[in-house]
Amino acid sequence: MNRFEITAQAIDPDVFRQRLLDPACGAYVQFDGWVRNHNEGQRVLRLEYEVYEPLAVKEGQGIIDEAIERFGVNNACCVHRSGLLEITDLAVVVAVSSPHRDAAFQACRYIIDETKARLPIWKKEHYENGEAEWVNCKHHGPGSSTIPQANL
């Protein structure tokens, strides 16, 4: 099994600790990302993840490798959902095992932070009022662009 995976199926959160179990490790940290019923004051009914899988998997594997290298943990993995999810469904799991807890916590945090910031994954929230929006795309305009202005 790969250390980073995208799946369209429900994630079973209970398989990871067994996969990362290591007699040399005293610490295991798992982060589960659940679909929350609200965001920025709006009632969320469900959400949808679009994933560009070839690049998400490559970048995701890179993030895991960085975390293992940087924090010296023994093992780490991450699985992220695609498709339509309901409230309390599992969107993502990050799991890390390490001899000591400090590195395990740091590596787990690093992997989820980088996963949210760098992978080509987009989240569309469906609200109670019937509207739907792509998260992070609400605030924009010429002044906030970081795409450099260029002459054609």
Partner: protein, 80 residues
């Protein structure tokens, strides 16, 4: 002039109404190409956290484009 395949994701796919197109362009960088595409697709927004990839590698908005490149325009990501 170069032939470039452009792909739009998520909000960009909805704003343009298409998933991809092939363009013949004088644009030398993804930034210039994006600006050119925005003149043809009125709804295409310039988000502050947008990303770009070329041929399935994360890239820079100022990388030089080559004939036959596939350019992927990513609106702000939101995994997790």
């Amino acid at each position: 002039m170069k032939n470039i395949k452009v792909r739009y994701f998520a909000a960009y796919r909805e704003e343009t109404g298409i998933g991809s197109e092939t363009v013949n362009t004088g644009a030398g960088t993804p930034a210039a190409l994006f600006a050119e595409c925005a003149t043809r697709h009125a709804g295409l927004q310039s988000y502050s956290a947008a990303l770009v990839a070329i041929n399935d590698e994360m890239s820079d908005w100022n990388t030089a484009l080559c004939e036959g490149d596939e350019v992927l325009f990513f609106p702000p990501v939101a995994g997790g």
